[in-house]
Amino acid sequence: MSKTIIIDPVTRIEGHAKISIYLDDVGEVRTARFHVTEFRGFEQFCVGRPFWEMPAITARICGICPVSHILASARTGDALLAVAIPPAAEQLRRLMNLAQIVQSHALSFFHLSGPDLFMSIATEPGQRNVLGLAAQDPELVRSGIRLRQFGQDLIEALGGRKIHPAWAVPGGVRSGLDAATRTAFSARLPEALATTQVALARFKDLLEPLSAEVASYGRFASLFMGMVAPDGTWEHHGGNLRVVDAQGHILADNVSPDGYAGLFGEASEAWTYLKFPYYTPHGYPEGMYRVGPLARLNVCRSMGTPLADAELSEMRQRANGGPVTASFYYHYARLIEILAGLERIGQLLADGQLEAKNLRADAGVNRFEAVGCSEAPRGTLFHHYKVDEDGLITYVNLIIATGQNNLAMNRTVAQIAARYLRSDRLDHTLLNRVEAGIRAYDPCLSCSTHAVGQAAFELELIGADGTVVDRMVRGK
């Protein structure tokens, strides 16, 4: 008799999720489903609003990565106005996005995934959190919190507040950054860099002892998609898209964001509110692709800054030169991106033009449809709007990073279950492993379904006849 295992709710992710593991007649794992069970309807209630308000409205989708929505939305607005924004505004937006990448990646690595990486897999779930880790390794947690604070403080200095800064607007940004503030942040960079380098060293030490996890937490061939600069270096804002396969062959390159619809389709399934984007030429579900830190590092030629480039070379050597197909390396890629982000922040802070007065281009509604794109910490984020001649929204489609990793996350859960499920019963160890596997993608479910989220996790084990054999619930 086949069976299903259900994990519900999934904890230490941004949102609420449930996981079902389906067994076949002989008790082997047949498939797994990562369900996102909540719904918010942002795409509906934005209709009728002036598009100038969209950065601030869509920022409210998420309290973790509002900056990503603000920047993608402002960029879409630029395209509706059909303007090239002032150069200083472009640099300031890039600075905020880098600060966002630093703070969000620090949150993911130290606060959310730190307990998975640095605490025993058998640790009782109540202890397996950032407070438990702080008791075990206070300096690691303290430095991680301060690293996140660096990013958050920089966002606040730019946008006036850490969360939901309505600062980037169609046409530019609302304020610059004075010399004194830039100097103050430059002085904090060495500590942030040191924290990242220590974390990188400690992570690399884990790769050998955790080689079984590296091999089973989502190691499979897939496509990768991310933004690159015109010369192929790592890019996070304003670049074009590139798709590579698991061997590193470039399948699509230099695709502007409004070409996304030509490359990617969205499938939906009745059992989840999270859609399944796929690479259209390969069909569904074979067109599975991954986005986010690992994908960005797989598609780019180099990082463009010295420290990050050295780390990228080392990571590629560890993975035998080609694209890294193990999702466990998302953590690794995240740390390298923090390093690249800090290096680039240092370059931008030295730029005197950030004090410019002219930061906002002015224009009327010159296009009725536009797609804007920005690399969010979790992956490529698209905002697609249509407006009427008065600039009122008639259509919204938001393509979110976590959604694009949906197929890969399902595959990861199935792989972990196949490797570690030893009976038709669930235990805390399996629950911890499945959650840790999902967390490598740093999923943000409030974003991906634009849904109200509570951090919660549910795991179900379902037999071949559809009956729930076992069920574990945590969080809520």
């Binding site: 100038w52 601030a56 939901h164 309505a166």
Partner: protein, 235 residues
């Protein structure tokens, strides 16, 4: 002009003949909350926030439309008035879609200030959540009926200060809407001089500069007073 002496909240107050209770109170440093009142414009007594208790009257009277008289005894801040004011503000919030978090006027909004002033912690009434249009057909301004409280300050500023009367009210009760000309899109209202006085007068984010984003609309309501004062001095 002879003086009138009245008592407001147990304090003896001297006022000019013909002055309103609201003016007399403000001259004496006593705050009475208002919404439809704007210095420089005529009074309509529509919002009922300035209702006060007057000895000898069984009804509550709007301070903006009640003339002072000799020996008048006024209470401006009794528990009953506080409760009524809070209910009025809650009803305003329940009637349209006031979402401060994404409003262009957040932080610079008379309605938001009032909610704080009357101690509104939540709305006890069911939200009507009406489907209201946004009109951004004017090249410089927009009107979002979701945020309109029907105070008619725009109507009066347009009529009394600019002398144009582009704005008016159509419909009745909760279905009432401010309109431009004979209910045409603002961009097609030929009488509008695009002077922006309606924007200066608007207490909320209902009238806003086109292209505004959250918390960006900062207006100086006293501009209307300055215009009217200057006009009085010159003529």
């Amino acid at each position: 002009m002879s003086a009138r002496t009245l008592t407001i909240n147990q304090t003896l107050v001297s006022a000019r003949e013909g002055e309103s209770v609201l003016e007399a109170a403000r001259d004496a440093g006593i705050t009475i909350p208002t919404l439809c009142h704007l210095d420089g414009l005529s009074e309509v007594g529509a919002c009922r926030l300035c209702l006060v208790e007057v000895a000898g009257s069984s009804r509550l009277l709007p301070a903006c439309r009640t003339t002072v008289s000799e020996g008048m005894q006024v209470q401006t801040d009794t528990p009953r008035l506080q409760e009524y004011r809070r209910a009025i503000v809650e009803l305003l919030f329940a009637e349209r879609n006031h979402v401060c978090a994404v409003c262009v006027a957040s932080g610079h909004c008379d309605l938001q200030d009032l909610a704080l002033h009357v101690g509104m912690t939540h709305v006890r009434y069911e939200y009507l959540a009406p489907s209201c249009a946004v009109d951004t057909s004017h090249p410089r301004f927009g009107i979002d009926h979701n945020r309109c409280v029907l105070c008619t300050r725009c109507v009066r500023a347009c009529d009394e200060v600019e002398g144009v009367h582009t704005w008016d009210i159509a419909g009745r009760g909760v279905a009432a809407r401010v309109i431009t000309d004979l209910n045409v899109p603002w961009g097609e209202a030929t009488s509008c001089t695009s002077c922006g006085k309606c924007l200066l007068a608007c207490p909320t984010g209902a009238i806003f500069p086109r292209g505004s984003t959250v918390a960006e609309v900062q207006r100086d309501h006293s501009s209307i007073t300055r215009i009217m004062t200057a006009r009085g001095e010159r003529w």
